[in-house]
Every structure is written in structure tokens, then in C-alpha cells.
Symmetry: C2
Subunit: 410 residues, 2 copies
Amino acid sequence: MSKKNMIVGQSGGPTAVINSSLYGVVSEGLRHPEEIGQVYGMVNGIEGFLNDTILDFQEALPGEKLDLLKITPGAYLGSCRYKLPESLEDPVYPRLFEKFAELNIGWFFYIGGNDSMDTVSKLSRYAQKTGSDIRVIGEPKTIDNDLVHTDHTPGFGSAAKYVASTVREIILDANVYEKKSVTIIEIMGRHAGWLTAASALARKYPGDNPLMIYLPETSFDTESFLEKVQAGFEKNCNVVVCVSEGIHDDKGTFICEYDNSVGTDSFGHKMLAGCGKYLENLVRSRLGVKARSVEFNVSQRCSASMLSATDQQEAAAAGCFGVQAALKGETGKMVSFIRKETKDGSYQMECGLEDVNDICNAEKTVPRQWINEDGTDVTDEFIAYARPLIQGKVDVPLGEDGLPAFVYRK
Amino acid sequence: MSKKNMIVGQSGGPTAVINSSLYGVVSEGLRHPEEIGQVYGMVNGIEGFLNDTILDFQEALPGEKLDLLKITPGAYLGSCRYKLPESLEDPVYPRLFEKFAELNIGWFFYIGGNDSMDTVSKLSRYAQKTGSDIRVIGEPKTIDNDLVHTDHTPGFGSAAKYVASTVREIILDANVYEKKSVTIIEIMGRHAGWLTAASALARKYPGDNPLMIYLPETSFDTESFLEKVQAGFEKNCNVVVCVSEGIHDDKGTFICEYDNSVGTDSFGHKMLAGCGKYLENLVRSRLGVKARSVEFNVSQRCSASMLSATDQQEAAAAGCFGVQAALKGETGKMVSFIRKETKDGSYQMECGLEDVNDICNAEKTVPRQWINEDGTDVTDEFIAYARPLIQGKVDVPLGEDGLPAFVYRK
């Protein structure tokens, strides 16, 4: 096979280490000049590529500048939420592959979650159908940790560490006063509760806050919740509760939709408050105690302040592994993580490959046996699973302005 | 004067460095065994002291454990919001001073903001009135930076650094997509906009986001805001705007109160949404673009992830200075910061003392000349003032659990 160029893109929501995956792909690509010519990036994913917005990494991030990707959150290349048509007969496919041919692309890497793996699936199937020798590889990414056939996903470890450490700080903040108070923390996760479950890592001793943790994997019962809060005051006058944004009742109604009078703004548009705000109001009105809610919001996915070294290294390693796999002729695969059994029980991870078609339309939730019987906490099995993923510290260098020296795309 | 014991308390809301101030007071106290006997802490401030909840630092945090205070956010001793009666004839004063006598207290230190300085004022005036030789010293603390007669307050630098770095991360997150979007970031500060002003430090180049910054020091006009957002799209398709929670219109009505249909919950209690949520809805409905809002909430005051080394060192230095001043016989004073003029323009700070009575009932807001004419940004003078306060990195050690090794009170 003659020398070809490679291209890499990012898609879906950003994470703290999606750029570490990018670093892994690009740096490994540059390490094989005998097989790989130019290393291109598509700006704003496949949608941007269709509009010819690409960059050359050796121009954009020469030399050591590339290293800064590892500490920069967000998606350096920009992202998109563009879904390729289901029918491979759609004219967008020949258009894409003509562009690949023009740029002499032989290797295509796409970093993202479920929807991005759908893109990898379609492109690899179209390549196979048309006899193109382009290798198409998916690199996993999501804070939600909801991809199947992989032990976990890059991005989850750092998001989990952010959640656990921020919950620990909020516990300290809540403990300052001796008056009864309830703090509701709302954490991302509409269908999968992995990230909310990570709040259990914040506990410093058995019985520490958060006293309750509610995931979308089980039904949420308002009255039982209020009873538990009331009972919690016997342990701690400051009760901290963590909830997934996607908690719902046994009929499947999201708790954030419970109150149809959450209100409309002065233009008649519905004001949406999260379930945290709803529960805060519920606690205040029903239990008559001080209540507040905190919504973690986008910092869960874009903060570099609590990078997990394990997560960062694994993201970069998965990037490298994907390039090596493509060079060996693999295509239509996603890089996965396989946790090894070790004699001393220490954590060890290996990369593997999975058929991307098995991944793109499935969703992995927290196993029911990792949630306690009444759905108010996670078990020690979850802790044992998650604890290794948040280990290790990353030193984020500060610039002269006193702030993290992130790298920006011009 | 024969050897006496000292006691220290914390009051009001926590900050990232209120425990560094405590470290300064306690470590300096322990350094003077010839004059100072026991070093006590009051648990939950003056209110807890009245209930006899005190601890001995040499038992609670022996040896190097004391050092962990410097990286632990929240208030180690716990806090209170207890206001001493205005009349010094109130029986609580002799009760307090009897307790002081029982414990042989000669030195009293109180770390806090405006309200805490009110406590310092009353206790020192009562001591003077009754001929007690107890020295009463206030240690400044507030993320709001609103104390008068001091260049700035411990706690502001770290909160400002948290705000600036988190805004920078959210800018990266917002830039990921190429679709028009508006992000409203709501930052603490009901009357003083110092912390919101610090979001200007996030900019990496002139014209970078946040495109607009609104403080409570000027009036907020909704129509003008919408026009500015619309105009902002010409510079950047992702517009980020930072607002103080306390922004208000020219009649003094808070923007968060604008919409009287923000709604009531199902129990008839009013649901309060912040001004960020209100503006998010306004932008979406009036401009028809994607909008989101982020409320920084308590992490601004309790996150150790973005400690400013300058802030941390100054907090500890102010703590030491207060103890030294008390040993010299000072009382009824608050430790202040005085910025020195230097030949090379470098930043240099010295501690001073101010009459606590001049401080406890005043509030310092951002000077009008540090805000641009139309009230949508801060000037370079503010940047020059604030930039030195966020400098320097603090290494927060992680424990075996992978999370910051904060010290807890048992």
C-alpha cells in the first residue's frame, strides 16, 4: 500500500480528555512517516469536513505545542452533531469519498460517543461496499461511560474525579453551619447514572455524605425520598443528596417535569428548572428546613482542574492503539478497554478492538446489582470499579496570566 | 502581663483560604509559648463558644496536620451567623467575658467579613468599657472583596481565580460548535461585582469572550443587553456573558425578580430562578438562538482546585500579623492589606491595622471608573488590580482515594 494521509475528527460533547485522545492519534500518526504522510484534522467533525475546513497538525501545533493538547479540555478541533444518512445510497457518501481521494486519505479516525460510532460504522460499511481501502477507526469518548463492550470510556475518569472532589468540597461547605440543611446536587446523566454514582467516591468515612445517591437506573419515589431525608437528620444535620438529571418516577416521568407550573417566562415560553431545583423546593416546603441545590452543569465535562492521570494516559494510549490497529489493516472497529485480572488485585488496563456496529446503537447503564436494594446508594462493587479510574494527578501548567495554559485553535 | 490563653473563631460564609488565615493565627500563637498558653478554637463561632464548644489545636491538629489547613476549603472550625446585641448592657456580654475569664483568655481572634467585624467591634468596646485587658483582633475574609480600608480581602484571589479559570473552560466548551449560541454565567455578588469582574481575567486575547460583563454597580437594561448579544454574533458565533447575581434595573429591581411568573411549585411556594436562568430564557425566546446558563454556586467559595498561592500566603500572613499586633497590645483592629508602590511595578503587599469600627458597617463596591461607560465591561485598571491576586499555584496533595487530602474536624 502506497503512502497515504490520515485525518482525525472529534464529535459530540467535549470532555476533559478528548484532546488527550487526539494527542494519542496525532502523535502516533506522526511516528509512522514511512506509511503516513500528512496528519490532518477536520474542524467541526464530518460536517466541517464536508465544508472543507481542515488543518494540518504540523502547521497548527508544531513540536511541543502538541503536548498542550493533553491538558486542554473542550474539543480542540471543534465538534458537530451531524448524523450521516441511514441509506448508503445517499449522495453524501460519494461526495465524502471523493474528498478523501482528493486529499489522498488512507486512514480516518473519529473520536466520540454513540453517535460518532454510528458515523464510523457507516463510513466503514460504505468503504467496504465500494471497495475503498480507507481504514476507519473509532476512538471512544464520553463522560457518560455508557458505551458497551468496553470496561469504561475515556473522559469518565476525569469527570468522575471532578464530581467526587466537588461533592467533597460541597460537603465541607455544608458542614460549616450547625443548622439543619439539605443540599441537592444534580449531576449529568439522563439514562445512565455512572457519573452520579461517582459521587459515592467523595465519602471520607462510612456514613459520610452524600447520604443518598439516586440514579436513573431505578425509579424515584418522592415520598420515600422525603422520609429518607428526614431520617438522615439523625446522622447529620447537614444532609447532602446527589441525583442524576434523569431521575424519573415508576411511570417514567422525569422528576424535572413533575411540576407543570415550573412556570413560563413573560413571553409564554416554559421555564425549565432541573430536578435539583424541584427537589430543593420540595424539601423546603414539605420539611420546612433550609435547602439549596447545585447543578454541576458543563464544568463536569470541561474542567481541567481535576484531571485523572489514569484517564488522561488511557485516552492517549487508546489514540495510539487505534492508529496502530489501522496500520495493521483493521477497519470498522472501536478501540475498547479491557480490565485485566491481576494477582495482587492492582488495576491494569489493556486496549482491544470491538466491531463498531455492536456499539453504536447500544447504551450501557449501571448494573442493578451495583445499586442497593432501595435505590438510594451504590454498592462497594461500584466503588471498586470506579476508584482506580480517578487516580493520579495531572499538573496543569499556568501561564503568565495565572491561569491554565490551554491551547486554542486559531 | 501574665501568660494567657488565646482563642480563635471563624464566622460567616466559608472561602478557599479561611483556613489559611486560621493556620496563620494558630501557628503564630504556638510560636509564642512565653506569652500565649493554650491555643483554643471555638467551634461554630461565637454562638458555639456560648455553648462551650471549643477545641485545643495541639490535640485536634498536632504537628504537621496543622499544615493541611492551608489546602482545606470550608471553615475548619465551623461557622455561625450570630449577631451580638447592639446594646452592650445585654447580659450576653458579661456571660461571654465570664467564660473568657474561666478559660483565662487574653487574646481573641475572629476571622470573617462585615458581620464578623461587628462582633470584633462589640467585644472590644465591651472590653474597653469594663476594663478587661483581652485583646480582640479581626482577620478579614470574604470572596466578595467588599471590605473597606483594605486593598483586598483574603478569599477573593482564589475565588477570582476559580471564576476566571472556569469561565475560560466554559469558553472552550462553548466554542466547540459552530452554531450561534449564548452562554450566561451567573456569578456571586449581590451588591459588589468584584467576583464577576474577575471573569475578565479569562480572556486570552482582546475581543475574546466573555463579550459582556454586567456588575450590580450599574443598572442593567434588558433591551440594550439583547442588542449587544445580537451585535456580539458578528465577533463570535458563541457569545459568553457574565452577570452578577445582583444585577438590577434602573429602578433597583433585581433582574431575578423581573418575571413574576417564574412560577410556584405544587405547594404554592415561589420557585426562585436566578438572573442567569431568566436571561437564558429571554435570549432564547427573543433572539431565537440556542441559550444556556451556568450558575457557579458554592464552588466559587469552597473549591480548592484553583487556589491562588498569593491569596493563600497573604491569608496566612494576615493571621500571623494579627497575633503579633495583639501581642503588641493592639485591640479593636482588623488586619488590612496595603499595596506598595514599587519601582519596577511588581506587586508587593504589606499588612496594616484598621479600626474595626470603620469597617463593620461599610461596603466597598467596584469603582465606577473601573467599569466602562455603558456598563458592559471592566477597564484595564481593574485587570491591573486583580491580575496579581490570582498568581501562583498551590499543590493540593491527593490521598490514597485519589481525592484532595482535606482535613476534617472530628
